[in-house]
């Protein structure tokens, strides 16, 4: 029996090639895209979960400041872990991860390779026990033999040593410090928040404290928040209580304001998708994409349901005959379920192929290394869920409908089609509402990305490239003077901070009239006198640094800093940064020195022409020559470092890379949703033209023009698209306004966006329908009327 059903189903697919193709293409694309998105979502949700102790591991975050300037930092000071382990019951283990920015190159024999400081870290020995990163070579109980030991990842080992066993070999850091490889760790998984190439013993960091500075030892340094700190907590311990206890310990050892350094614990499982302050980070995209995946699957299913119920009308004859010659409703029901299942199986196989083919491209766009492994349980979980849900949704209704015909009336062509025609219409509305929603979303996302791209930042970063000076630092003034003799170099300046995305903050400030209970977090920039003119930062009061001796005790603030501190007539007023008591000599207009997702924060410039970042301004056509000039000096002073420079425009774009990726993915998804919807509409229009062939014939005989007929056939569908538009636009508008709230500076939303989306949808729908309508209208009425 099943064999017979399969045979009929197969022949049905073959004989109705047009419908089958539309159905299968729609389903294939829907399933493939839906699965791709869900694989992405699953990957996002899988971050750090490979750690078996994840439920017990928490990251310590620190709340600094009060009110508007309150921030939550993901790093804390080093003593937190020390005291957590010693003084807080319930803490089983503690790991600190401190970035090591001391070196930028490593050498083994002749091979010199560059390492980014973000991939180098000092870690506690417990690192290898708390997390599930596998130590392939080395002693887990004593991973670092001494403070000159280093543990490297497999990939790093291969880069430096090839196939030679790296253990015991020496890596020369920046040609001065030798480190002996004491172990090899498996590469960090793609879905790990903790990554890196080399791990150093925290004892090495400890040695940087010589007891002569303000902070005598690392475990007493409460002032520098540089340690990513993870605690393993006993089950059922209150994380809140532990956070409070740590805060109390902090204030016991360091007399500071009660608002700075309030510790709170964040589950490790959350760190990838939530910010340290608990606000949504990646989780928002995860949610949006999950919704998009579901919408696309629903759209594909609706297609199937629509087409098969529409076609049911054409198949009513077959169904009636089957009933008359003895088929039960149950048997017919099974037949149609099997047909759907067959369609799905084919679509699923094609979808798998499509996923395989598009995976590399998808990974490139998404910036991930996801794998599609047919034998992985994960994939099948996603597949099973998707397929069962879609199968149920798209098979039961058509099957029920098809098996419910009254045989004799169906045979005569009299089918009560009115009821399910409106059902189909509702589905089309639903489909187009989703599609229009996605179009509006796409337009707004693109508009915002474009806004960021072209936003007046308040400074000029055109044709400026930056480099780290290393040894050139000591000769900065001379190099600068020589560079400026060349016409290719327009300006040279130095700073300790990036103007694109300032990374440091301090609360160590004072001024007259400051409320002792508040903390002002301010971004300090140490610059030379040419910094502000070169970036064309505008002054609203006072003057720039002049490189005079007294300038070392002068400060320039931005507008926001003046506003938040509440200093009236700031010029000439006292301001204290760290231990330096100085005078405010200028105020600059606010400019964006961080991501546009954040509002402009307070900023302070001080005159210290010794920062490590050198900025060189050139012009478009002289850029290559200017880079070459800088390279000459680099070779002279930094021969042990590979030459490295970045244009600020690139740095700026990199900051919004994730947003750009999201934007591109969204574009693709919206396009696909529209495509599948149109495929369904096309099928339905074809069906309508078929059903109305007689009516069209009669109308033509009576003198209707092609335009009349096309209008008649298109009108009904266009009304549906317009209804969909009316439903979708306010909802999409509302949701996108919420999305935009994530940006402190956002593109203006104009009503024309909705107009464009609606017009586009209607136009696409009209083109889709009119193809069939015109074809039907052009047909010879004699043929269509000569039936039976």
């Amino acid at each position: 029996m099943i064999k017979n059903y399969l045979k009929t189903a197969w022949r049905n697919l073959i004989s109705k090639k047009f419908y089958s193709a539309i159905n299968i293409i729609g389903l294939t694309i829907g399933l493939a895209v839906g699965l791709l998105i869900l694989i992405w979502v699953k990957d996002e949700l899988s971050y750090d979960r490979f750690n078996t102790k994840i439920d017990q591991i928490y990251k310590v975050n620190a709340s600094i400041g009060t009110g508007a300037s309150r921030q939550v930092w993901g790093n804390v000071s080093a003593p937190v872990a020390f005291h957590a382990l010693k003084d807080v019951p319930g803490v089983i283990n503690a790991v600190r991860i401190i970035q090591n920015y001391n070196y930028s190159t490593f050498r083994y024999k002749d091979k010199i390779l560059r390492e980014n400081g973000n991939n180098l870290a000092f870690v506690d020995d417990s690192f290898f026990k708390m997390f599930d990163f596998k130590l392939l070579k080395g002693n887990i109980n004593k991973p670092f033999i001494n403070d000159q030991s280093v543990i490297i990842t497999e990939r790093t080992a291969k880069r430096y040593f090839g196939s030679v066993d790296p253990v015991g070999k020496t890596l020369m850091a920046d040609s001065k410090d030798p480190y002996t490889v004491s172990g090899v760790i498996a590469d960090f998984p793609g879905n790990s928040s903790i990554t890196g190439n080399m791990l150093f013993s925290i004892d090495r960091k400890r040695k940087e404290y010589d007891g002569k500075d303000y902070w005598k030892a690392m475990d007493e340094d409460w002032g520098n928040y540089f340690a990513q700190t993870f605690l393993q907590i006993k089950a059922n311990e209150s994380t809140k209580a532990i956070g409070e206890k740590l805060t109390r310990i902090h204030f016991k050892y360091q007399k500071s304001k009660s608002s700075d350094g309030v510790f709170q614990l964040q589950p490790m499982a959350d760190i990838h998708l939530y910010n340290p302050d608990g606000s949504a980070a990646g989780i928002q995209t995860v949610k949006v994409f999950s919704i998009v995946a579901i919408l696309i699957l629903i759209i594909a299913c609706i297609n199937y349901v629509n087409l098969s119920t529409a076609r049911a009308m054409l198949r009513s004859k077959e169904v009636s005959i089957r009933k008359i010659i003895g088929a039960d409703r149950k048997q017919l029901f099974i037949q149609f379920i099997i047909e759907t299942a067959l369609c799905f199986t084919i679509a699923l196989l094609l979808a798998f192929i499509l996923i395989y083919i598009s995976m590399p491209l998808y990974n490139k766009i998404a910036g991930k290394q996801m794998h599609f492994d047919l034998f992985s349980a994960n994939v099948w979980q996603v597949v099973a869920l998707t397929v069962i849900a879609t199968l149920v949704a798209s098979s039961i209704y058509p099957a029920l409908l098809l098996s419910s015909f009254k045989p004799i009336s169906a045979l005569k062509g009299k089918i009560s089609g009115a009821g399910n025609a409106s059902f189909r219409k509702a589905l089309v509305v639903c489909q187009f509402a989703f599609s229009i929603g996605l179009i509006i979303g796409t337009i707004i996302i693109n508009k915002q990305l474009n806004y960021i791209h072209t936003k007046q930042l308040g400074y000029d970063k055109e044709h400026v490239f930056a480099l780290s000076m290393h040894n050139m630092r000591d000769h900065y003034t001379a190099i600068k003077a020589q560079l400026l003799t060349h016409p290719e170099v327009l300006s040279v300046t130095a700073s300790d901070n990036s103007i694109i995305n300032s990374s440091s903050n301090t609360g160590d400030t004072d001024w007259d009239g400051k409320d002792p209970n508040t903390t002002l977090l301010i971004s300090p920039f140490e610059i030379d006198k040419d910094f502000l003119p070169m970036f064309k930062v505008q002054f609203i009061a006072g003057r720039n640094f002049t490189a005079s001796k007294s300038d070392t005790a002068n400060f320039i603030l931005n507008e926001t800093a003046v506003k938040i501190t509440g200093i009236k007539n700031p010029l000439g007023k006292r301001f204290k940064l760290h231990s330096l008591d100085g005078t405010i000599i200028g105020v600059v207009k606010d400019f964006h020195f961080a991501s546009l997702k954040e509002t402009i924060k307070p900023l302070i410039f001080s005159y210290r022409p010794t920062g490590d970042q050198m900025f060189i301004k050139t012009s478009g056509k002289n850029a290559t020559a200017a880079i070459k000039l800088a390279d000459n000096f680099w070779k002279q002073y930094n021969s042990n470092f590979p030459y490295e420079y970045t244009f600020l425009d690139d740095t700026y774009n990199a900051m919004y890379k994730t947003d750009q990726q999201t934007g591109i993915l969204f574009d693709i998804f919206a396009g696909i949703a529209i495509f599948i919807s149109c495929l369904g509409l096309f099928g339905l229009a074809t069906y309508t033209a078929q059903v109305k062939v007689k009516e069209i014939g009669i109308r033509k005989v009576l003198g209707a023009s092609v335009a009349n007929i096309t209008a008649m056939l298109s009108k009904d569908f266009l009304v549906l698209v317009i209804i969909a538009f009316a439903i979708a636009s306010p909802i999409a508008w509302y949701m996108m306004s919420k999305w935009l709230m994530g940006y402190a500076y956002r593109a203006q939303l104009h009503w024309w966006i909705i107009g464009v989306a609606g017009f586009a949808a209607i136009l696409i729908a009209f083109l889709t329908i009119s193809f069939q309508s015109i074809k039907a209208a052009l047909a010879n009425p004699v043929k269509s009327l000569r039936s039976e």
Partner: protein, 224 residues
């Protein structure tokens, strides 16, 4: 075999009542070959559908093999006709996606007949109608007469007690039509009860009784 008492059928559309059948009384005995005649719209097909239990009368009593059909539920009614009645249509109504063999086999599938038995039954039927050579062809590859032969073979495969034919020769040329009528006549002689609707005096004459319908009532009934 079957008996209709005071059967009426009408449609209501708003306040307009259209009568299709009006107070029909008809008894058919086993072994009869009845031809129903009448002009278009006289209610021939409606009467046949009611006899075949594909349609319900608006009023009246109906018995089939001594079962009171008017009292049966939908499910029981369909079980009754599936077992006992074979249908033959003017437009053949074969399933386009199935070949000749499969078309004839399908009713057996729905009755859960075992594969081996199905094979034997279908082979018999193909043999009897001399269409063995056509068993792998699809309906679209057959002439009208051949399609109707398959239609009849399909109707007979479940050995019904009554064969209902709605203008079985309506779409055929006269030669094909004659062949089909000869076949009906032969079947009737072998004991099959047949009721056919026809326009043609000549075809009606193959039967043992002719009933003339006009505007939903029986105008005349004569035995040949």
């Amino acid at each position: 075999m079957l008996s209709l008492k005071n059967i009426s059928k009408y449609h209501k559309a708003g306040s307009l009542k259209t009568t299709i059948l009006n107070n029909i009384n008809l008894d058919v005995d086993a072994g009869e070959f009845v031809s129903i005649m009448g002009p278009s719209g006289s209610g021939k097909s409606s009467l046949l559908n009611i006899i075949g239990m594909l349609d319900e009368p608006s009023e009246g009593y109906q018995y089939f093999l001594n079962e009171p059909v008017h009292q049966l539920k939908e499910k029981q009614r369909s079980a009754l006709y599936k077992k006992n009645i074979g249908f033959v249509f003017q437009a053949y109504h074969l399933i386009d996606e199935l070949n000749v063999y499969e078309n004839i086999e399908t009713p057996l599938l729905y009755q859960d007949v075992k594969a081996a038995e199905r094979k034997a039954l279908v082979a018999d039927m193909l043999d009897r109608f001399q269409i063995v050579g056509k068993k792998d062809l699809f309906p679209s590859q057959l002439s009208g007469g051949q399609q109707q032969l398959v239609g009849i073979a399909r109707a007979l495969i479940v050995t019904p007690k009554l064969l209902l034919a709605d203008e079985p020769t309506g779409n055929l040329n006269s030669k094909q039509g004659d062949e089909i009528m000869e076949l009906f006549s032969k079947l009737n002689k072998e004991g099959m009860t047949i009721i056919q609707v026809t326009h043609s005096e000549k075809n009606a004459a193959y039967g043992s009784r002719i009933i003339n319908l006009l505007d939903g009532t029986i105008e005349s009934s004569k035995n040949i």
